[in-house]
């Protein structure tokens, strides 16, 4: 009887609709690529309407640690640690805790075609979001690292292009810092009750203390973004000359950098900065579910002035 029940359970679980779980092949491909050792020189560029930014960078990854040399300087990145070099000193920021990664079931692997790139055997794959082609990748067959990544917007245009112009599946020697001049911890914090637990398929994964406010990290497993919530009026100087845009009549400012899009807005009681690698149509959908831009009335302002 128990065997019969077990058999029924197995058959039942096999009959579950595949849409209820993430694509195993895509999951495996991403995990393998993230762990692979390599050395490369790449170009990454991002375009959103008239805003565009590009840069070259050199990256070496070995044993889960990446050394990156780019226009902003030298960085060392490993799981939960980001360190930057200033002069001869390294400054590290470490994440104290994080939640497990999971890939949204809205993504799946599409067509796969054998090809070559940089003289290497490679496979071109499409990442589908439902019926929409969301990304085109050319994966190096030996290392499993993407030699080309195109992120597409909802109209099929390339929003971000990252392409290796030099590549070796053997990592180069890394100048790893022996010690850090300063080492700070990014500590967990209670999530802001103004930020939803889920936005347009993105899960609110972790929240951290950030200055006087919070950093809330959202991810769908493929793309991710952080929302920094702080006191109203907090705005990085870089946004002074930022592009203004509207979403359903609400006003925002944005900055496009090679790897990220940054969006700033003031809500009645807080200011927000969103930074992430998600495509424009996702950003527009996400912004509609976050606190709306707006000003506050005189009495509220007086109260705030008196009591903070």
């Amino acid at each position: 009887m128990r065997r019969l029940l077990l058999a029924i359970t197995i058959v039942g679980s096999m009959a579950l609709p595949s849409a209820a779980r993430a694509d195993d092949d895509l999951e495996g491909m991403l995990e393998s690529a993230a762990e692979a050792d390599f050395h490369g020189v790449g170009v990454v560029m991002c375009t959103w309407d008239d805003d565009s930014a590009a840069t070259t960078y050199e990256v070496t990854r070995s044993d889960g640690m990446s050394m990156v040399h780019g226009p902003s300087g030298d960085f060392m990145l490993s799981s939960g640690l980001s360190a930057s070099r200033s002069g001869a000193d390294w400054y590290a920021l470490e994440v104290a805790e994080w939640s497990a990664w999971s890939l949204s079931d809205r993504y799946s692997l599409g067509e796969q075609i054998s090809t070559t790139r940089l003289g290497r055997a490679a496979t071109e794959v499409m990442v589908m979001e439902g019926d929409l082609a969301r990304a085109r990748l050319v994966i190096d067959d030996i290392s499993t690292v993407p030699l080309l990544t195109e992120i597409l917007d909802s109209a099929g245009n390339v929003f971000r292009l990252a392409v290796m112009i030099e590549f070796d599946s053997e990592p180069a020697a890394m100048d790893v810092p022996e010690d850090f001049h300063e080492r700070e911890m990014l500590m967990p914090a209670a999530p802001s009750d103004r930020l939803p637990a889920e936005i347009f398929g993105y899960r609110r994964v972790d929240s951290y203390a950030s200055g006087d406010g919070t950093q809330t990290f959202y991810s769908d497993g493929l793309f991710s973004f952080s929302v920094f919530e702080s006191k109203r009026g907090s705005r990085p100087e870089a946004f002074d000359a930022a592009t203004r845009f509207e979403v359903v009549g609400e006003k925002y400012r944005r900055i496009v950098t090679p790897s990220n899009v940054w969006v700033h807005w003031d809500a009645p009681n807080h200011s927000y900065v969103l930074v992430g690698d998600l495509p424009p149509d996702h950003i527009l959908a996400v912004l509609q579910e976050l606190p709306e831009p707006g000003n506050r009335g005189f009495l509220v302002r007086l109260w705030r002035r008196l009591f903070g």
């Binding site: 690529a33 690292v145 990544t149 990014l186 920094f228 002035r305």
Partner: protein, 127 residues
């Protein structure tokens, strides 16, 4: 431009951007309603800030209760002075100083934990 009523209070406190301030000024030059509302807001603010200058009550009560009146007047004056001091020096919700580099570092530190699309090609670092 539609009536920018929600911006008037911020305009009084000088919290609008130069661009927003110019647009509001331009509108005020041609809109009597908004000019009137701005004046009303300014009047309320001035009235509230003038609280410390309230005179203590005059001695209308009998001599026996005069000390109470004097005490009450003194307390009111002290409260008014305290309010004036708070209005003058209270930091309010002074905005935090943010910069893209710091936020980029915080975002990247968490980002590289996951095998997302930026991690697999090697994140660039920086903003």
């Amino acid at each position: 431009m539609t009536h920018p009523r929600e911006l008037l209070s911020a305009h009084l406190d000088g919290e609008l951007t130069a661009d927003e301030g110019s647009r509001v000024d331009l509108h005020l030059a041609t809109c009597a309603d908004c000019t009137h509302e701005l004046r009303a807001l300014a009047s309320v603010r001035t009235a509230l800030r003038s609280l410390p200058e309230l005179e203590p009550p005059t001695p209308l009560m009998a001599a026996r209760s005069w000390s109470l009146v004097r005490w009450g007047g003194g307390a009111a004056a002290a409260a008014a002075v305290a309010l004036a001091v708070v209005l003058a020096v209270a930091p309010g919700d002074r905005p935090a100083v943010l910069d893209l580099d710091t936020m980029a570092e915080q975002h990247t530190a968490r980002l590289v934990v996951d095998p997302g699309i930026s991690t697999i090609r090697g994140p660039v670092g920086g903003p």
